[in-house]
Symmetry: C2
Subunit: 648 residues, 2 copies
């Protein structure tokens, strides 16, 4: 038998027994202790520093720790294994501290601001009015009063049931499983032939999923999920009234194994990696489900279906399908259209026979979240040329109208999600989201989410900062901090010049909130990638971005993105302001539409089939365009006339 070791994690004082040789990162996850990590345990990001208080821990050599840190007992959790009982301290820098986690309520208010907004509701009404959003959920309950059999009317119990369902609904292929057949004999007679069936839409047929005694049709609930790389958002919906009863969100704990999809795919390829990532997402979903059900006094058995929208990697991981081939040329998913399954098959805890459907995707890097976004925005029905930009870790772009749709993924990186930048944080309480810098004296004014003392900078704060630094003349068009700036705020940091946005005395963290030269370079690359993607996509279709009549902005930014400043830095094309429209979390909105309406699901499938994926990396014009976009706002200043005007 393998030796077991006891680990105690401080300051949480959480304990766990693990096999000798286990690495600390895995042990911490098993113990439910959070340690930052963004490279998937590759030893690259250096974010999982922990301090060994006691015990035998063996670490691989790493360049990610300073000599001082090594002296203090720091090791990288991912590259250190346990060989005796140990005590480990997780320093604040490696922890998801209080200031780094929004309280549940604050978080949800924020999320509500993002997705319950006008755009989605309008779109829902529009679809309903046009009659293409009929009330036909993934699973529907139907109460039946079966005529009891007689010697004259002696068809079998199952055919009697089918006959009555067909009498009420025009369904060609109707089927059910043996487990239901086994119970109907007794159930029909004991319930005096009054039963409720749950009809599920399953892979082109209709399944009688459940048969319950009496009339339970009044209680039928479903879930819409947005499975994001960073955040998972869920809605509990009354399938009869279409009302959203509860909305909850949680971070995707898979982030411990990598912040972007690429590192997670790589991690999934390791031993038991796929299983771990799969279980992490399922666990979070179950936690959210249980919390919502408890809050609404709904039994898990009354939840009969789940509709999920996520990018292709998230969809694969949720279903425990190996995502390895997504990232290998020619970048082919295992399936764009996943079969409808029982939610229990992947461990989702609702009614054990309840259904789980994943919305369809287009390609490895344009997933169901984007298809849901098109569905929710309606650009596939528009007469005019429209652009959908979803700014997340990847930054997916869709261009088209009612006749055609093309899409691509920009690999923008997670800088706008506060990742990989020195003072970056997610959009949470204390995150600087608005910035104003006065030219000349470089006086800084900022506002934070929740008006708390700053803890860092989130995406919209970075866009503001970049634009303001540029406008105030702190950085030049190449994104370099100018050498001749005479201000305390501009100083030489550990890795080159940096700009201080908030001083230690103002912050919660006891550290300055800064933007370094390398942060700026990083942000410029991100914004350049998104702009380039949109530009190349338009050019590929023989069009210019100026031809676009409507631009939909989706993603976590929501209304917090400042369009004018985004144009200033060249993230968004320089078009009339009234062409832009915020549409919030369209992944969740699309999932909700598809959950509530089979027509919407059929439409989503059409969108997925109709949309052409363009692999940017093989487009000849891509590199030139990208290089040109690594300027503020662009090397070709004529493309940004309003900026040019103000600069001159």
């Amino acid at each position: 038998m393998m030796d077991k070791c006891l680990i105690t994690f401080y300051p949480d004082n959480k304990k766990i027994m693990v096999s000798k040789g286990t690495d600390i990162l895995n042990a911490a996850i098993a113990a439910g202790v959070y340690i930052n990590s963004s490279c998937g345990g590759e030893g690259v990001c250096g974010r999982c520093k922990v301090i060994i208080r006691k015990g035998d821990v063996r670490s691989e050599p790493t360049g990610r720790l300073t000599r001082k840190e090594v002296e203090k007992g720091y090791v990288l959790a991912c590259h250190s294994t346990i060989h005796s009982n140990v005590e480990i301290e997780i320093p604040p820098s490696s922890r998801l501290e209080k200031q780094q986690i929004l309280t549940e309520e604050a978080r949800i208010e924020r999320l509500k601001g993002v997705f319950s907004e006008a755009g989605e509701i309008e779109r829902g009404i529009e679809l309903e009015e046009r009659g293409i959003f009929s009330h036909s959920p993934l699973a529907t309950k139907l109460f039946l009063e079966l005529p009891p059999p007689t010697l004259k009317d002696n068809v079998s119990d199952l055919e009697r049931l089918y006959r009555e369902v067909r009498r009420k609904r025009g369904i060609p292929i109707l089927q059910t499983g043996l487990s239901n057949v086994k119970k109907i004999g007794r159930l029909f007679r004991e319930s005096d032939w009054q039963v409720t069936v749950l009809l599920g839409k399953r892979n082109g047929t209709t399944e009688i999923v459940l048969i319950e005694p009496g009339n339970t049709s009044g209680r039928d609930f479903g879930l819409a999920f947005d499975i994001g790389t960073t955040t998972i958002v869920a809605q509990l919906i009354d399938l009869n009234t279409k009302k959203v009863l509860s909305t909850k969100a949680a971070y995707n704990k898979q982030a411990s194994y990598g912040e972007d999809v690429i590192t997670r795919m790589i991690y999934a390829g390791k031993k038991a990696g796929l299983e771990k990532l799969h279980h992490l997402v399922v666990d979070i979903m179950n936690e959210l489900i249980l919390a919502m059900a408890t809050e609404c006094k709904i039994s898990l058995n009354e939840i009969t279906c789940v509709m999920c929208a996520g990018n292709m990697t998230m969809t694969h991981l949720l279903l425990r399908v190996d995502p390895t081939y997504l990232r290998r040329e020619p970048y082919v998913p295992t399936a764009n259209f996943m079969p409808v399954i029982r939610a229990a098959e992947v461990g989702i805890k609702i009614n054990p026979r309840g259904l789980l459907e994943c919305m369809p995707g287009v390609s490895s890097y344009v997933g169901a979240d984007i298809v849901a976004g098109v569905l929710a925005s309606g650009i596939d029905e528009a007469d005019v040329l429209s652009l959908l930009i979803d700014i997340g870790t990847n930054g997916e772009i869709v261009l088209g109208n009612k006749d055609w749709l093309v899409s691509c993924s920009s690999s923008a990186g997670p800088a706008f999600e506060g990742s990989g930048v020195s003072s970056g944080v997610r959009a949470m309480e204390g995150a600087i989201q608005r910035v104003k810098i006065t030219p000349g004296d470089f006086e800084v004014k900022y506002s934070t989410i929740g008006d708390a003392k700053p803890i860092g900078i989130c995406g919209s704060g970075y866009i503001d900062s970049l634009a303001e630094l540029f406008k105030a003349g702190v950085i030049d068009r190449s994104g370099n901090i100018k050498e001749n700036i005479s201000s305390q705020r501009v100083r030489e940091g550990k890795e080159g010049p940096e700009f201080v946005l908030a001083w230690t005395r103002e912050t919660q963290t006891g550290e300055d909130v800064i933007i370094t030269q390398s942060d700026i370079t990083n942000l410029v690359r991100s914004k350049g990638a998104i702009y380039t993607a949109a530009k190349v996509l338009a050019n590929k279709m023989g069009l210019e971005l100026a031809d676009v009549k409507k631009i939909y902005l989706a993603g976590g930014f929501g209304n917090y993105l400042n369009i004018e400043k985004s144009v200033w830095i060249g993230l968004l094309p320089d078009l009339e302001k009234d062409k832009f429209r915020f549409i919030g979390n369209t992944s969740l909105a699309g999932a909700k539409f598809a959950l509530l309406s089979y027509d919407a699901m059929v439409k989503a499938r059409e969108i997925a089939r109709k949309m052409t994926y363009i692999e940017l990396s093989v487009e000849p014009s891509f590199m030139n365009e990208y290089t040109g976009a690594l300027f503020l706002p662009h090397t070709d200043i004529d493309r940004f006339p309003t900026v040019t005007e103000k600069l001159s």
Copy 2:
């Protein structure tokens, strides 16, 4: 914890540990020891007598044991429970002795004679020639050479697979399970995009059941099963060549819990009764499958589908569906059309993802065996009026032509299967099958199956005997043994007059083979029930039996039934001999057709839907007709002109 007791069964010397209080019959079944029993453990049939050699056994009082037997230690196994370690002897009368079991080979030869005969082969050729028996098995393997994905042709793995299948086969709804989706990414690449899929026809859709690397399409095997109340017959079939590779048969061990379907339904209603009957049939099927697969050097994984035909009770028990409601007015099955399931769902050991389909039935007492019979006989396509008589425990009758079909069940009882009659045996080695009795001196000539010394009388032997006793003047038209017969062979037995067919010195059993007055009454009731069913069915349609142009005789009798003698006793209507045709085990033949051809299965479904079931017990003319049929050949002698002619 419950106390355990050790039981030793002699003469087999088989041991088993059971809980205190277990009854001996159940303990014997658990130990794999056969004890006769035909009432389902009700204590009624008195066939399960065993002798307690040692130990504490408590028995309920019974009138089925003589005082002498009680003194010798006899008890009824079904009504005696075990309260210490015990030793039990099973006497020959309660055992399936050597003479009662055909050796495997002899049995199969006999069965082959029944079902491999001309009728089935002719019918197969006929169906094929008419193009309504295309080669389209329940599950078919298809080899695919998928084009590997490229940046241009970048559809996902699953859609690539679907596309190729659709290219080769016109299939509208194609689906597969998550378990296949999970493995294709790796499998396609490791097998260099050369794969074999198994396409299964499942509840109105086509399922990709299996995906295997390389080309395995050459090896695809299926099973046809006739699940009879008494006997289970199986065929292992090469699905590519349609060739029958092996045929095996075994007794249905459920018989320990009742010889007819009614007693089994009752037993199924007892605690754990359904589970026991279910497991017994599945175990036998698995034994047959393993034996055939071993013989043919075929791996169980290469067996991909099973088609079963059985009566409604057998179908319910196989699928573990409670048969209780079959026997309660208005006699409604849980399902006439059972869903196609994975064979593994009920424990059938073939490929774990392989399919099991049960042919459809019509009503509680006209099951899939009869639908299979109609399919195999083709009476549903005939221009002329045809009659199908399946003489088994029930004796089902179908009347009709290409425009309509009516059916009924006769409750003939198992007398013609050798059950419930004093010297009755199944059609096995040593069974008297042909009898000749000379009028005047009552000299008896008989022949047995396998020319062995007699062990008893089987169905065809009883028909001959009854006709010969009647012709020779031993019995009168009411079936009573005449009082004034001067012959040693006619004597007063324990329960009234009896006729000795074979003397002790001639037999294997050391006992006379006799026909008692009560046997005759029993047989007359059986033949009367079958004739009446046919007559009432014809009358119900405003027709006479004389209008029937073709009579198909199905069931275990096969060619062994003597038509002339059957007419003499009034079992069969008095029609021209060339109107009769033996068609053997049509249940198995029909299952084979349906296994090999989806068209045949569609036809079977049409037959099941088209056929009207007539409940004889509520037909006003039934009782009168039945009473009239309790004579030899009938009270209305004009209905049997050829018999009348010979009698006069």
